[in-house]
Amino acid sequence: MSSASAAVAPAPKPVAVCETVALVRRFGRRRAVAGVDLSIAAGECLALFGPNGAGKTTLLRLLAGLLRPTSGEVRLLGTPLTSAAAAERGRVGLISHQSMLYDVLTVEENVAFAARLHGVPDVGSATAAAIARLGLQGRELTPVRALSRGWQQRVSIARAIVHGPALLLLDEPYTGLDVSGARALTDLLRSLRDDGSSLALITHSVQEGLGLATHAAIMLEGTIRRYEPASGLDPVEFAEAYRLLALESAA
């Protein structure tokens, strides 16, 4: 193939790290997720906004493989999640409302346990790196129950990133963090995104979400009502659009 013909060839479409196709999840008669099509490529961050009960957490749990779809499909690195190999399924990290930590174990034990479960080759180094990244040095041997909510949240984040996930799912990760903790988290997420990790972030703060996101979406009643690139979005205008959509939905 000549260089000229190569030059006119269309640019390859970035491989989606995570993709959903007509994703539906019912709980009894209620459709929590009602036909969602999404695609998150490497290095992209999707900020997902929506009122309580919109189906955001259910969507995140479907992306993590913790819930089975009623219909539709979740693809991770091009492979349906249900048939993906164990190593591929393990490339997802989740930070949820709850810490997912063992209160009695120390910070180091919690993070190292997650690293071992994911088959990280050098558990010691990976654990130390994750702990350092969240500013937890000096607290390695502290039992998690002795930490404040904000510090527990940092441990929870260290646990979620210790295996270097390709896709990091974050369900209101700023909950409980003070100003410095929130800033550290934003810096961390930005560096993960810039290193090529894909992020899906649920937050109620438009400012924080748009500060990080490459794409923004508003979810209402299980469906994505608005989806657009975040660059150039005016946070004030977006927040107003979000408010109006939520009001319309409530009405």
């Binding site: 993590a64 819930l67 164990a86 393990g90 949820s96 063992y102 009695v104 034990e109 346990f113 479960l117």
Partner: protein, 231 residues
Amino acid sequence: MSQLKPPGLLAVAWMIARKDLAIEYRTRSAFFSSLVFSLLGVSIFYMVWDPTAVRPIDMAPGVLWTIFAFAGMLGLHRTFGLELQTRAMDGLLLAPVPREAIFLGKALANLVYVSSVLAITIPAVVLFYNLEFGSGLLILGGIGLLAAIGLVSVGTLFSSMTVHTRFAELLLPMLALPFFIPVVVPAAQASAKLLVGAELQTVLPWIQVLVAFDLMFGVACVLAFPFTIED
């Protein structure tokens, strides 16, 4: 980090068992509550026992294995309860590990805990009822281990099934106790035969029942477990 190597079934089971035992060692909640229950049970049975009406060798096996079943039950609810407090179970399910390994790890930790309680309860019963097992004590230990394997297999599975329900602490004994009968009966019969100094050949059929139960329910519970954690 592309060089992740998901650990194998036994490695994961060992990791989870070690983690659960570390938590139990630091809290000692399940072990001590079961131990106190066992010793109180032995004492109460001893106090209501009329030695002129019932011989100790007739009384002791029933006491030992009844207390074993109820004491074992006390800690089983905690098995998955501690995973739910902060949704740590999600962390296990997100990891690229076989679901069966989670069951094996939990069952292994329970086996250590139930066996530890039994290791103190057996001498307590021997002392209270002034029993003479002689060399049969070793065989009794083996019977105890087989009974513990059966109990924790069934108990761990039912703990996983009931932990999400509102009445978990009531449901677990209601579901599990009927399945403990095929464990308690052969264990009590075998112990009674050992106490009267019967030949090993007469004890063997009861031991075979225990082995058969362990194999059948052990495999069935491992295979059934993944379905109990599907959301």
